[in-house]
Structures are given as structure tokens and as C-alpha cells.
Amino acid sequence: MDYALGDFLMFTPEVYLRLFERTNEALGVGLWGVVAVLVTIPVLLCRAPTLVRRLVAVAMAAGWGLTAALFMMRFYAPINWPVGPFAWVFALEAGLLMVVAARVPPARVRLVALAGGSALLLALSWVTVRETDTWQAIALPGVTPDMTAATTAVLLMAWPRRARWGLLVIPLLWCAFSALGHWAMGLWWPMAVPVTGLVFILMAALWPPPRSPSVE
């Protein structure tokens, strides 16, 4: 007799997937506010002047904070105790992003890159819908932890490397933890989100710096 990875898991996939529905239910009409912010971010990155582009980091910070407070602390931590401390780490990432917002603006991003990144992230958001057969389980960046971490890694490619690396540590830790959890649950499709997040984090760590933080 020996332990399997699944033996360390204290909840069932059913309970885990319900977290997505419950979080979206709890947000109510606020969910549309999140969608509005998510639609605005590419517009800011594509067209806005330097000062306004800083708001992207503010939005990311808000997303990390919302994810920590709602999905993680309110719903996930009661069934999975390591998530409680992780929620505080998410709050730390939100704080770090606010520091970055104040000090380093992101570079402008080309439309084609934004379209590609958005399409990929949208597909990832839909994985939990596919798994549960209800759109109410959609996993939005800024609301659910895997999508928040993966999206952050993508967006950080618009920042200079020195600002980027420190912000990749927490997404890396979370995506590794989450991928193991999905593996233990046997949730192969939803596992694509943290695994893709890990790929994005690796890309963001190696991605060449933008030519200028403020000029396309």
C-alpha cells in the first residue's frame, strides 16, 4: 500500500468545479463589470498614452485582490486549507502590481499580438464551461486564480524584464500548485489552464524586453 497524489486531495472534482459557478453567482452583475474591464485592457495597451496605460497594472492588481478575497478566501480555502495562505500571497501580488503601476508603465502592444493573446485566453476561460456544461462556470481572469495567473504572465510581456521577473514568482508557484491539484483530481481539460499558465510564465521570463516602455 502506498500513497497516490490523489490521496492528499481532500475534496472531489465536483466540489472544485462548483467553485466557479458559486464565485460567478456571488459576483452577480459585478461579473459584467469584470468583463468590461477585461475588454478595456487590450484597448489601453493598444492605443492609450503612457499615463493611462499604467491603469492596466492597476486593473491587474484589482483582479488579484478580487480573486484572493472571493474565489480563494471565501470559497476555496474552506475546502482546501493551503489555499488560505495562498490567498494572502495573491494579495501580496496585488500590492506588487500597484508598485509597478506607480513606477513602470507597460509598452504599447501591437493589435495582432493582443488579438492572439485574447483569443487564447478566451479559449482557456471556456474550459470549465466545457467540463461543467454550464456557462455559469466560466473562468474569468481577475476572478479565478489560474486564469488570473496565466493572464498576468501574458500581460507582463509588455513590461521591461526587470519589472517582470519579480512578478512572475507568485504566478509560477500558484500554477505549479494548481496543476498538481488538477492532476490529483483527474481534471485533464481544466488542467490545461495552469499548465498553459506555466508555459506563459516561461515565455514571459524569456521574452525580449519591449523596445521602449512608452513607445511602440
Binding site: M1, Y3, D7, L9, M10, F11, V15, R22, P78, I79
Partner: protein
């Protein structure tokens, strides 16, 4: 695919329901008695099928899943179950059980068993108090040291608490066949009411030393992972039940596996866990009818080995 309810039991149930509706009281005396085993230290009888909560009752505050687990627990009590086992390690399981027992008004039927799970050996009383608050009980029927974690300090305090009347029974647990040597030493040395260990048709190491020792020392035994974490079902797949099942009034593979476990003479209770009402119905089937004798147990082992 496992049937939700065997046809024979369904027809009997339908007929019984009709009779009971027409002539209440006709069937009152015909309900078969559940199989029980006595706790050696007191002689108190316990139904041989209890309920585990690892994973299955850790549903947090989800109202949909709370309602669904309430149905499972309700059926468990209706079918004569009493022993519910949890642990602080199982996330929200203790709070969920406490909430649902309160909803169902079944506190009197419940044999509440949980565990102390902390490395801090001076935290025993506080840990018990936290669990009492979550379960909504004034006194636990059974308090166990989880996976022998900090067992020396915890067990000493639990013995004091039992002497004070704050606990009815005390014990220690292991799982996955881990630390059997340590468990054997503790069983020889300490005055335990219960031990909990892994025992099922595929994991039978406990038969060699621990189960005979439990009989010798008068210690009740709870079997966890009676389905080997579900792997036994994967092993049988969609195979039909063997002919032996008919002789033992066994209607499902769940009943087959459970009757094997609880028919060991040292065994007091098995604690299968489930998230499905239909599976709870199958599990509770093992609480009734006949248990296999030694020869039939050997045949059961051969059947599973040949799969």
C-alpha cells in the same frame, strides 16, 4: 455499470411501501435487524457499517451540495447507520456533518467519531473543543489520534479526558498500511478502545498481526478505505456478481467488498465514504443479511484475485 437499486430489492421495497401505506404497523416488526458488533471495552453494540467523510463531505458552504449530502446522511440514518467518522484534516467535513446532523435532528442516533490532528501535543483539549463546536456535540463518542501524529502527548490527554467523562472512547488511526509497527507497539502498551486502520480485499496486511492483536487486547477496529479508495470497483468493472453473492444475500459489489471486511472476527465497523445516494443505499445493504463464514471469505478472496 452498477445498478442504482437491484430489482429484487426494488420490488420488495415497492411491495413494502404499499403494505405499509395500507396497514401501518404490519411491517413494524418485520424490519430485519442490522448486523452489529460490540465494542470490547464496554459491550456496547455498533452497526457494522458506518460512514467516512474523507473528501466526500468536504463541500464547504455550497448550498446545492449540502442538500445533496443531507440526502446521503438521511439515508444512512434511515438504514440504521450510526458511526460517522471525520477529521479536522478533511477541510470543512466536520462543520458539514455538524450542520447536517442538526438539520436532520439525528443527534441521538449519531455515534460521533473524529480525530485530533495537530503536531502540537499540548493542543489536545483545544483541538477537541474546536471539533465539538463544529459538530455541535457536547461530548464525542470516539476521539482518535489522526495517523499517530503527536500520539504520545495527545493520547495521554485523551486518557485524562476520558477519565473525566469528557470522551466516551479513545483510539488511534493509521491509513494506507502505514506505520503498522508503531501501531502494534501502541496497541500493546496503551489502553485503547479503538484502532482505525486500512483493511479491504486488496490490502489485508492487518490480518497478520494487528487484527489478531486487537482481539487479544479487546480493542475495537474500524476499517477505513474498505473499497481501496475505489480501486476495487475499477478492478471488477462491469463484471456480474459471482454465484457466491446469492448465497450471502449480496446485491452489489459494494456489499460484497464490505461484507468481506466486516466479517473478519476482529472487525467492529467499516466506514465507506460516498457522494452518491445510490451508493449509500448499496453500502447500507451490507448492514443486513448474512455474513460470510471463513470458507466463504477464502472463496471471496479467490474471486477478487482472479479478476
Amino acid at each position: 455499470m452498477r445498478l442504482l437499486m437491484p430489482r429484487r430489492r426494488f420490488l420488495i421495497g415497492m411491495a413494502s411501501t404499499g403494505l405499509a401505506a395500507r396497514w401501518p404497523g404490519v411491517l413494524a416488526d418485520s424490519e430485519p435487524a442490522p448486523i452489529t458488533r460490540t465494542i470490547p471495552s464496554t459491550g456496547e453494540p455498533l452497526p457494522v457499517i458506518g460512514m467516512g467523510t474523507w473528501r466526500t463531505f468536504n463541500v464547504g458552504t455550497d448550498p446545492v451540495l449540502l442538500d445533496q449530502r443531507e440526502q446521503i446522511l438521511d439515508l444512512f440514518f434511515q438504514r440504521g447507520g450510526r458511526v460517522v467518522d471525520a477529521s479536522p484534516m478533511y477541510g470543512s467535513a466536520e462543520a458539514v456533518v455538524g450542520e447536517l446532523v442538526k438539520r436532520l435532528g439525528r443527534r441521538e442516533a449519531l455515534f460521533a467519531a473524529t480525530k485530533v490532528w495537530t503536531r502540537d501535543e499540548s493542543d489536545t483539549r483545544e483541538a477537541v473543543a474546536r471539533s465539538e463546536a463544529l459538530w455541535g456535540v457536547a461530548r464525542f463518542d470516539l476521539m482518535q489520534v489522526h495517523n499517530l501524529l503527536g500520539w504520545e502527548g495527545h493520547l495521554a490527554t485523551l486518557q485524562e479526558m476520558k477519565a473525566e467523562g469528557r470522551l466516551r472512547y479513545i483510539g488511534v488511526t493509521t491509513s494506507h498500511g502505514r506505520r503498522h509497527d508503531d501501531l502494534e507497539r501502541i496497541m500493546r502498551r496503551e489502553p485503547l478502545d479503538f484502532v482505525q486502520l486500512t483493511y479491504n480485499m486488496a490490502d489485508r496486511e492487518a490480518e497478520r498481526r494487528l487484527l489478531p492483536l486487537a482481539r487479544e487486547r479487546g480493542i475495537a477496529v474500524i476499517a477505513n478505505r474498505p473499497f481501496q479508495g475505489g480501486r476495487l470497483f475499477e478492478r471488477v468493472g462491469s463484471r456480474p456478481l459471482p454465484a457466491l453473492a446469492g448465497a450471502l444475500e449480496i446485491d452489489s459489489w459494494a456489499e460484497f467488498f464490505l461484507k468481506f471486511v466486516v466479517s473478519h472476527p476482529a472487525m467492529t465497523c467499516a466506514i465507506p465514504a460516498t457522494t452518491q445516494v445510490a451508493h449509500m443505499r448499496e453500502n447500507m445493504g451490507a448492514l443486513y443479511g448474512r455474513l460470510p463464514d471463513e470458507m466463504q471469505r477464502r472463496r471471496m478472496i479467490d474471486i477478487v484475485r482472479e479478476l
